[in-house]
Symmetry: C2
Subunit: 126 residues, 2 copies
């Protein structure tokens, strides 16, 4: 259970959920290299400082919500992909689904993350 | 229906399904830049020639199967992701699922593709 990729992505998700700026910046520093980049359809950040600030700004747009990892990350050759859900912190239906693709540096931190967003799937018909 | 990203990924899937080497190489040249790279857990290719040869080798491991795009590609900022199924050409259950992430060059062709493989999902419980 100490798979380094799983730990890395857990830290990444924790950074997205951390409301306290200094603690969030520390988590971003654990998850990302100093020069890392993040890019999704709605926002981007270049460098760990910018990514930490970007996450803080995103949190202000999403009060009362949290990011939850959906399933285990899949990784090979220093590449990783994983899916997350955005859901009300109090519980309830998933409001957004993200598919993130990352590259991992030799030191085990994320060097790039590209995110894709989609609407939650409707419940499957029987 | 002439979305350039959808056309690009259709061409990419066609390349994977094309058994005739010259035609496959032409499709790879439409889908990939000359210096493009491909990497998944089991194989890799650097350059369009190598990618075309790699696909030919993969086809020999998968006789009687075809790749089918699952859903529409999702793209932003020159990045694209999509899912494909490997299934018997005669029809039948999906035998593998792939999640591909690509970067698209300014000329509209794939510059990098990283693929992830998974087992097909079991049918959802009612």
């Amino acid at each position: 259970m100490t798979n380094p990729i799983n730990q890395l992505i857990d830290t990444y998700i924790s950074a997205w959920n951390e409301p306290e700026p200094d603690r969030r910046r520390a988590l971003v520093g654990e998850a990302f290299t100093t020069e890392a980049t993040y890019l999704d359809p709605m926002m981007s950040g270049a460098g760990a400082d910018a990514i930490a600030a970007m996450i803080g700004a995103a949190q202000q747009q999403l009060p009362g919500h949290r990011f939850v990892l959906a399933g285990a990350p899949d990784a090979h050759h220093g590449r990783v992909r994983f899916t997350w859900h955005l859901e009300p912190a109090e519980g309830g239906a998933v409001v957004a689904v993200g598919h993130d693709f990352g590259t991992v540096s030799a030191d085990g931190r994320l060097r790039t993350v590209v995110g894709f967003l989609e609407q939650p799937e409707a419940p499957a018909a029987a």
